[in-house]
Amino acid sequence: MLGQIGRDKGQGTRDKEHSAIGPVAALLLACAFFASQSDRFLTGQNFSLILQQVVVIGVIAIGQTLVVLTAGIDLSCGMVMALGSIVMSKAAVDLGVSSAAAIVCGVMTTVAFGLVNGALVTLIRLPSFIVTLGTLNIAFAITQIYSESQTVSGLPDGMLVLGDTFRAGDAAVTYGTVLMLTLYVLVWLALRETAVGRHVYAVGNNAEAARLMGIPTTRLILGVYTFAGLMYGIAALLAVARTGVGDPQAGQTDNLDSITAVVLGGTSLFGGRGVILGTLVGALIVGVFRNGLTLMGVASVYQILITGILVILAVATDQLSRRRSA
């Protein structure tokens, strides 16, 4: 009798393909469009430039993806990253500590912000949207006060190593790019192949069910926000290494860009569904758009306008397709 109810076969595979092929197709379409608009787009040199521009947002988006998978959102990521880069720059230049110690100071700052975000979300049960909107402003204000809105220059070479390049064919690849790709692969493996990774999905799927199954949900979510903070710290180091300065105005478009990357990559804003490698593709789409529009001579405010429209389109498409298949 029970056997008769065992119908619907293989629906799951369709869902997985849907989330993997969409973003790649969108990336190829965007590349094709910009290639038709500018001769300079399809060059190895330009692609290595896109990759260099993508590393910061790409690493921030790793943290953002994990937070979104738990059905939260982190609006503070860009500003926390900027604060981290100011802290590490000031530590090196003003306090004169070693590069390694300066980097540790910056990363500890962003980790602390992640921990505070996570603690407010889990222990006091505030919505992540409001918590991170608050810490966004706090991090922004501290960044401006501490730096007096001045760019910090004269950084020691030790902090800029990730911006150095090596040659791969006719393209110059930065060590930062390699670090970003390594992080993506590691987090991808952890999400797929470990119990903690599966629990991240379970919490985003049905937090109460996960708790009743004995998963320590509070500790898990706290860990996810803290890990996201670590990613923002690494992104801060990458930003400093790329530009060679600590820039208090950095990260202002990164909140929206990271959420756009996550959503374009096929991760559901309602949590529990998505693949981290999709986010990498999403970040590349964002990078290709910014780069392509710049090559076409579109002013940066219009780029922000287009990114805003892009994120709404992506969420709407995702929602509509889910509603139809449900």
Binding site: M1, L2, G3, Q4, I5, G6, R7, D8, K9, G10, Q11, G12, T13, D15, E193, T194, A195, V196, R198, H199, Y201, A202, N205, N206, E208, A209, A210, R211, L212, M213, G214, I215, P216, G272, R273
Partner: protein, 253 residues
């Protein structure tokens, strides 16, 4: 084994008390679950059924009284504690992770890691083994779900509840089912009731909470009747009618 051992309760509650402000949900309730039986717990709304279940499954901590498992006093500070003691609970509202696969849901919170360094140092999951074990487990309960790799959201309501019940059948000691048929249609309820019998026939005692008298009289070996936060009677479905059970439940007798 002596007859006394055979009838010694697996799970016992003595004088459990739980208050919410001025409301007393449990007023010193006792419960005895014997080996290999389905014990139904019935009671009107507010009789303290779900509070009792939550205390036994670790979802809440009672203010007083004690819980004994195989005669040993146990204290649960969370659902994880009860689970570690071998008590599994099925909830009425289909507590599954919908986007995750059948196998993942079955092993949620008790994942199997690979042997050797890959498992102990790198914490990698043994997905192959979990898929195979899941298929064998479902087979042993005669649950016909085609693939262990399909997401639970692609299943019908009855199949989802079958997954939840199958997960609970991994229990070492006791299975608690809180209104497992409440959200299901007639045919699907029948399927889940059959499944509950199979879980018992595997040797696991089951506590079955339900509002539905026909379901209770269909599967229960004994019926625990709760009223006003206490146990007022334990009856066997053969020696009492549904009308009489309802009368005891509502205080008419």
């Amino acid at each position: 084994m002596t007859p006394a051992n055979q009838s010694a309760p697996v799970l016992q509650a003595r004088g459990l008390v739980k208050r919410y402000g001025h409301v007393t949900a449990l007023a010193g309730v006792d419960l005895d679950l014997l080996p290999g039986e389905i014990l139904a717990v019935i009671g009107d709304n507010g009789a303290g059924k779900s509070t009792l279940v939550k205390a036994l499954s670790g979802a809440l901590v009672p203010d007083g009284g004690e819980i004994r498992l195989d005669g040993r006093v146990v204290k649960f500070r969370g659902p994880g504690d009860a689970r570690r003691e071998g008590i599994e609970t099925v909830y009425q509202d289909l507590a599954v992770a919908p986007a995750m696969t059948v196998a993942e849901n079955l092993f949620l919170g008790r994942e199997i890691r690979k042997a050797g360094l890959l498992g102990s140092v790198f914490r990698l999951l043994d997905k192959k083994r979990m898929l195979a074990d899941a298929a064998a487990h479902m087979e042993s309960l005669q649950i016909g779900i085609a693939s262990m790799r399909q997401p639970v959201e692609s299943l019908s309501g009855g199949q989802r509840q079958a997954v939840a019940v199958a997960r609970s059948a991994f229990a070492r000691h006791v299975v608690i089912m809180d209104e497992p048929t409440a959200a299901l249609g007639v045919k699907e309820s029948r399927m889940v009731l059959d499944l509950i019998r199979r879980v018992r026939d595997k040797g696991l005692p089951v506590i079955f909470i339900s509002h539905n008298m026909p379901h209770v009289f269909d599967v229960a070996d004994r019926i625990h009747i709760a009223r006003l936060g206490k146990r007022v009677a334990v009856v066997s479905p053969g020696e009492i009618s549904m009308a009489e059970a309802v009368a005891i439940m509502t205080g008419a007798i």
